[in-house]
């Protein structure tokens, strides 16, 4: 048997001893006070209710913020003068034309 084999065997013996000691510890230690199924069910219901409450709160907050944003947008639409809409329209059309133009140019270059 060479030294490596000897080392591995020694390690195996050591690990076997370690496993036995841990097994013994499992037997010696007091059994845990496992919560009853009823207690666990109580925890589960409590958690589910808590999660439901937090989801309702999140939904409520979402709608509050949404209403605020939508309300602000509607107010802006009604209070803006025709010049604002003209500028908005022109910039939108210009941006659209530029995008289409670059798209067509890109395709042409790709074909070459």
């Amino acid at each position: 048997m060479d030294r490596r084999d000897e080392f591995e065997t020694e390690e195996e013996i050591f690990l076997r001893g370690l496993r036995q000691s841990i097994d013994r510890m499992d037997h010696v230690l007091d059994h845990p006070s496992t919560p009853s199924k009823e207690q666990l069910k109580g925890h589960i219901h409590e958690r589910i209710q808590r999660r439901r409450k937090s989801m309702i709160m999140e939904l409520l907050l979402f709608w509050l913020v949404s209403l605020f944003v939508i309300g602000g947008g509607v107010l802006l639409v009604y209070s803006a003068s025709w010049i604002v809409w003209l500028i908005q329209g022109i910039s939108f059309v210009t941006a659209f034309v530029i995008v289409v133009h670059f798209n067509i140019d890109g395709r042409k270059e790709g074909l070459r």
Binding site: F14, L18, V28, D30, P32, S33, K37, H43
Partner: protein, 173 residues
């Protein structure tokens, strides 16, 4: 995973509180015993086990069945313990460590059992080495599985296991 357990998990994920309670009840003792070995402190193990159960209730819908239910609980328990150690830096406080070991020794002595050198050495290992040695050589997980459980590369696991075993053997000499 066993078919029966798989069915139970599915029902629990669909919101059946009775089945979830039954699943947790069946695995609690195993989880606690694992955590005692990891923490080397029965009181701390009970705290971590309870936190793990609460997390299990909250995250049961995320369990994908790729590992057994007990492995999933062990993974969560280990991560909770590591997080606690990081946050509280309890491990650096030798008083906490000593208190845990004393509790286990007390139980050994109460039953006229010998507290041997191997367990003393295991208790003296750092938690990161102890966890990897336990998972590899006691629970029989592969390096890759342990890596996934602890979110670390399998190479790191391998080196931690080797260092842990070497330290244990050196202490035993």
């Amino acid at each position: 995973m066993k078919t029966e357990e798989c069915n139970k998990v599915k029902l629990a994920q669909q919101g059946d509180a009775d089945v979830l309670a039954e699943l947790i009840h069946e695995h609690y003792s195993f989880l606690y015993k694992y955590l005692v070995k990891v923490t080397m402190d029965p009181a701390l193990a009970e705290d971590v086990a309870q936190d793990t159960i609460l997390r299990c209730i909250e995250k049961i819908h995320l369990y994908d069945g790729s590992s057994s239910f007990s492995s999933w609980l062990m993974t969560m328990g280990t991560r909770i313990y590591i997080d606690q150690m990081r946050r509280k830096k309890r491990e650096k406080n030798w008083l906490f460590k000593e208190r845990g070991i004393r509790r286990i020794r007390w139980q050994f002595e109460s039953r006229n059992e010998e507290w041997d050198g191997v367990l003393e050495s295991l208790a003296n290992l750092s938690s990161e080495h102890r966890i990897t040695v336990l998972l590899k050589h006691y629970y029989g997980y592969t390096y890759e599985e342990i890596g996934e459980m602890l979110s670390i590369p399998s190479g790191t696991v391998k080196s931690r296991v080797a260092t842990g075993v070497r330290q244990l053997r050196e202490e035993m000499r």
